[in-house]
């Protein structure tokens, strides 16, 4: 069976892919069009129920919730892409280096990863933003830092396995230098594992950003963000309970889509199901 045929038959991959596409499409569309401006304050129209003009109602300043949600997708994607890229690039470099050099380099990288894991991540993020001030850039940095050890571990584990394979042994016997082997043989072969991790970390980054914004430490107004919208909604819980529903569903659907996509990818790239059941439980957020 071809990969594309299997992809269509994999329900996780299909549903996850569709949800993720919807997320990306929403964000892309919001760059050029939203029903109303998400920044347009219209106090007399505050806390309106959903209507033909305001599909999801209005918030406490009379802004259009639907438009804010659309633009909020940009925000989640921006944070996710940058934070995961930071983790992916630095973490993979460290992990591959550890697998290549072994010895004290590997020991140092792994100890560092252990330490970061042992340290409550959201706590450091909170301290971090407390020191540097709240803001989207600082929450990206904080989330990015915590992705580094995750990718370092995954990259090291898979890279070490590849180093044992026959074709790598052959390349070494043929006198290729270690850096060359890493670039030509190791990296391409761990890409599939990394791509699974990327989708899962992307999902986690969205949850993290939402939590930090909810605490008031992430994205700052007037830039709409889903976490911040929930914070505002909580203050209006008695007058406008519906406000607390939409941003939460948006986060849930985005994360669900990416998680499903990750599961699907894993099945597709590893069809024999040889993976260990417990690769990386998404317990940290």
């Amino acid at each position: 069976m071809s990969l594309s045929a299997r992809a269509a038959g994999n329900r996780s991959f299909a549903v996850g892919g569709l949800l993720t596409l919807a997320l990306l499409a929403t964000a892309a569309l919001s760059l050029v069009w939203t029903p109303l401006s998400p920044y347009l304050i219209d106090v007399p129209q505050k806390l309106q129920l959903p209507s033909a003009r305001h599909w999801f109602g209005t918030d406490s300043l009379g802004r259009d919730v639907f438009s804010m949600l659309m633009v909020g997708a940009q925000n989640s994607i921006l944070v996710g892409v940058i934070a995961v890229s930071v983790g992916l690039l630095l973490g993979t470099a460290l992990g591959v280096l550890a697998a290549e050099r072994r010895g004290w380099v590997e020991e140092a990288v792994m100890r560092l990863a252990d330490f970061t894991f042992a340290f409550p991540a959201i706590l450091l993020a909170i301290m971090f933003t407390a020191v540097l001030g709240a803001g989207i850039v600082n929450s990206i940095i904080a989330i990015g830092i915590f992705n580094v050890p995750i990718f370092a571990r995954v990259a090291r584990g898979s890279a070490k396995a590849i180093w044992q394979r026959d074709f790598v042994m052959a390349a070494r016997a043929a006198g290729r230098n270690r850096l060359g082997i890493t670039l030509v043989h190791i990296l391409p072969n761990i890409l599939s594992v990394l791509s699974v991790q990327v989708t899962i970390q992307f999902a986690n980054a969205i949850l993290w950003e939402a939590a930090l914004s909810y605490l008031g430490l992430g994205t700052q107004p007037p830039q709409p963000s889903w976490g911040r919208m929930l914070n505002d909604a909580q203050a209006q819980l008695f007058q406008a309970p519906w406000l607390a529903l939409f941003p939460g569903f948006a986060i849930m659907l985005a994360v669900l889509g990416l998680n499903l996509l990750g599961d699907g990818l894993r099945d597709l790239l590893d069809p024999r199901g040889t993976r260990r059941a417990i690769a990386a439980p998404p317990a940290r957020r």
Binding site: Y39, L40, K46, L61, G133, Q234, Q236, L237, F238, Q239
Partner: protein, 495 residues
């Protein structure tokens, strides 16, 4: 396994039952909601208004009392006389009063307290008032003579603020954690981050008239939790209710009474007068003209709040309405910016401290400034950062803040104050305000002062914070207005 499930189900069922002991019979305890936790309980040592909300009149008392309508009445002093030059005050103290640690209250305690307030190491917010006392004489244990260096027409009012309360020398050092005063309630317990409890003091001079046995101040920051606490009956009254958007809910509910009064909180968009281009009065006037006070009052204060045109409230003596001087007029604002030669868009920072009036109002103001080409980037800060960055280091462009101190026009006479407003003319006016003994002449100077800062558009003056109280039916005696931040519990009772 099933047995565990039943046990858990039973535990949940029991927990869901309403807590017992919350019956109707309790009429001598009161739970008051308050938004911010005080950092300590010594009003002469900290600047937070929350200190006074808990301690003033309840634990600590001063020589004079500012009553609910803002007038000055006797408290620990039963009477006083003022010399014709208004520089010497002679107070006759109430006799037979004791502190809560059983020490007698005498003139020596007054001398001790005021000297402590004026001392080098004093951290009293109104230190200047006490530093201005040239001499304190105590001819007998119940007489205090205060000689001022210069006339202070507000002196009796100042003594009635929570910064003027009388402490007892032996306990003064620990008053921040275990306050000891002469008032009707003693400090009982403080669960940090949650609540502060006071208990009736049987040794109070008029203990029989005190209706409440225990009063708990519950700290509830979150607006939704304030609403929920009142609805669930956990909170009996919320004197400075914060969830203004949900007021309708209580107004339509027969179990509650809602009152809307006023405070002395002058909410302003403060402008850094030394920073370019705000050093140009035309730019400041443009900002004032760009702001629609009504939109801000509607959005940040649910339509409650009186618009103001200067740093003065309608409750203050000799108030004049100056809102007509700076009406909402974006076209004029744009013209003023053009005239001043400001290149647009002008990029500025708008620093917002935590209260809703700033966070909500700030977003509206940013949108309104955008209309005239001023691009205000919002920066949300905690109080500590605000005090450090804006207040102390004057490192800001624009900020929103409510000045709750009554009659504090004098801050505009200080060029080092964080507005950085430097006007010799205004300082001369304030000099006259402070030193003029004749009331109506002083009134004319007060009007000139209000007009002066409005004319110079030192800040954009927005509105007076409302005092909204939500209470269960049957709670009576709470202040409707807040001339100062206090909860006078001696007068509170259940119907």
């Amino acid at each position: 396994m099933p047995r565990t499930c039943y046990a858990i189900a039973a535990a949940i069922a029991i927990a869901l039952l309403p807590a017992s002991g919350h019956g109707e019979e309790k009429k001598d305890t009161l739970v008051l909601g308050m938004i911010l936790e005080p950092p300590g309980l010594d009003p002469t040592a900290g600047a937070a208004a929350a200190i006074g909300e808990v301690t003033h009149y309840n634990i600590f008392e001063g020589l004079t009392k500012i009553t609910a309508d803002g007038t000055v009445a006797p408290l620990l002093a039963e009477s006083w006389s003022v010399s014709p030059d208004q520089k010497t005050y002679t107070f006759r103290l109430r006799g037979g009063i004791r502190f809560q640690n059983d020490e007698p209250f005498t003139a020596a305690d007054v001398k001790f307290s005021f000297e402590r307030d004026a001392a080098e190491s004093s951290t009293n917010k109104e230190k200047a008032v006490y530093a201005d006392i040239a001499a304190i004489e105590t001819p007998d244990p119940l007489t205090v003579v205060l000689r001022l260096k210069q006339v202070n027409a507000n002196f009796l009012f100042n003594l009635g603020e929570n910064t003027g309360v009388i402490l007892e020398p032996k306990s003064a050092a620990s008053d921040a954690t275990h306050p000891v005063g002469t008032g009707p309630f003693t400090f009982d317990n403080w669960v940090k981050g949650a609540s502060i409890t006071l208990a009736k003091w049987p040794g109070y001079r008029d203990a029989a008239a005190i209706k409440l046995d225990r009063v708990t101040f519950r700290i509830v920051n979150d607006p939704a939790a304030q609403v929920a606490g009142l609805l669930a009956g956990d909170i009996d009254a919320f004197p400075r209710f914060g969830a203004l958007d949900s007021l309708k809910q209580f107004q339509g509910d027969a179990r509650f009474t809602v009152t809307v009064g006023s405070t002395e909180g002058k909410t302003i968009l403060a402008i850094n007068n030394k920073r370019k281009p705000f050093d140009d009065v035309r730019v400041r006037r443009a900002i004032a003209a760009a702001i629609d006070r009504k939109a801000i009052i509607d959005g940040a204060s649910n339509g409650m709040g009186v618009p103001i045109g200067s740093h003065y409230t309608p409750n203050d003596p000799f108030y004049i309405d100056l809102t007509g001087r700076s009406p909402y007029d974006p076209a004029k604002a744009k013209a003023l910016l053009k005239e001043a030669g400001v290149s647009l868009p002008l990029k500025v920072t708008l620093t917002l401290p935590p209260p809703p009036y700033a966070r909500q109002g700030g977003q509206i103001i940013a949108a309104e400034l955008a209309e005239i080409g001023i691009d205000a980037r919002i920066e949300m800060v905690e109080w500590a950062q605000w005090l450090d960055g804006v207040y102390k280091h004057k490192n800001y462009d624009l900020t929103i803040i409510s000045h709750v101190e009554p009659r504090d026009l004098a801050i505009y006479a200080n060029p080092d104050y964080y507005f950085q407003y430097d006007s010799k003319e205004f300082r001369d006016i304030m000099e006259k305000v402070n030193t003029t003994a004749d009331a109506s002449e002083r009134g004319r100077w007060l009007e000139a002062a209000q007009r002066g800062i409005a004319e110079d558009a030192v800040n954009a003056f927005l509105y007076v914070l409302p005092q909204v109280t939500v209470a269960k039916k049957g709670v009576r005696g709470l202040w409707r207005n807040s001339p100062i931040f206090a909860n006078d519990l001696a007068a509170v009772s259940w119907q």
